[in-house]
């Protein structure tokens, strides 16, 4: 592309629709936690197409996970406890079976039902007053001008919560069989 669309200024965009975010359960730790608070919670890993999520016991919302020290966090890498528990969690949540040259199986996990107790810094996305959030997670002011973003996840920022992992414990998982391509 010679003249990329990126050079366009988008400040004239009209007002946006708000994206409703789930109301937390009363019994869910997320409902009482504050933005920036360090929490410890048990839950189950949830694979998203472009992110790793985590469903905390007692909560409906999926929490997006990232590790301390990752580039888009402000938590320094030296706060990450790189012990065997963390390595197991990382392995269980990311190991995929290699595809054959004949049949490609993508995102085909080696482990399922990955559970862990995670400690991390909880980040809560908010929608400031007088702004609305569109489907892609951009915030607009009353005139429609894009004034920021809200939410976590890719490609849209559809999740309200993110946990910056500091440590993991009680990690367990179930080994999954090698993929077999079904014949629909």
């Amino acid at each position: 592309m010679n003249k990329p669309a990126w050079t366009l200024f988008l400040s004239l965009i009209g007002s946006a629709t708000a994206v409703a975010q789930n109301q937390p359960d009363a019994a869910c730790i997320l409902s009482t936690a504050k933005n920036g608070q360090t929490i410890t919670a048990h839950g189950k890993a949830v694979q998203q197409p472009h992110d790793l999520g985590f469903r905390v016991v007692g909560c409906d919302d999926v929490v997006i996970l990232t590790y301390a020290g990752d580039q888009d966090t402000d938590v320094p890498a030296d706060r990450l406890r790189r012990d065997e528990h963390l390595k197991r969690f990382q392995k269980f949540t990311s190991a995929v079976y290699k595809s054959t040259t004949k049949d490609i199986c993508e995102q085909c996990m080696q482990y399922g039902d990955v559970e862990a107790t995670l400690t991390g810094k909880l980040e809560i996305a908010t929608i400031p007053p007088d702004t609305t959030k569109d489907q892609m997670g951009f915030l607009h002011d009353a005139s429609g001008k894009i004034v920021g973003t809200s939410g976590f996840g890719h490609p849209t920022r559809m999740f309200k919560y993110r946990l910056v992992i500091l440590s993991a414990s009680d990690v367990k998982a179930r080994k999954l069989p090698k993929p077999r391509v079904a014949n629909p």
Partner: protein, 225 residues
Amino acid sequence: MAIRSKPNAMHAPPASDDKKCNKQFNQRARDLKNGLSDLQKKVDKMKDGPEKQRLEASLTMLGTEGDHNGVGVAFSTLDGSAAGRTDLNLNASGQASPLITLDPDSGKNGSSTTLAINAAHEGTHLVDQTTELLHAYNELSWPNWIARSPTLSDFSLEYRGYQTSAWAAQALGVPSLAYDGGSSVIWNSSWAAADRQTLIDKGITQHVTSIPGHPETTPHNPWPN
């Protein structure tokens, strides 16, 4: 596009592994260029239709290395099973900085073919996000735009991404492409031509609805292409 390495703290190799890391990056960068070049050649020979249009749009968005189109492509370990991801951010003046990140792991993107498929998928996400922004820009009135051009639901956004994956696999001559441990087949070259559209739709719908937070919406693809 501009291709670069982007190590992160969790997965960054020790300093002694720099040589190995650079070698892997160089290999993946070569694989990506070869894969996209191969896909472009196959797309050029496709008959006109939504498949060709979609793949061309994605490839145009990605561009070629060094074309200064503003699209960045990074190789970096991604959390979970993700093989790729797209970030579209705007700076204070409204200028966009699109970035596609591909995981160099051999299980996720171990060949030029899988890299091309996953890059095409991410390219479609970028096209779709840009389209939504530009529609809004052109209409200058968000409510009217909402009425005329529906935003993509989280289901439809991923549905379109996996459509591109399936069509890229088909174009590249891949025998089959599946997800969910092989149970969600989104492309199989053994399918009869008359059944392909239905079976691709079935496989993608099964896969996307299995992802938490992606309930089915209809029409699956509300846009003309």
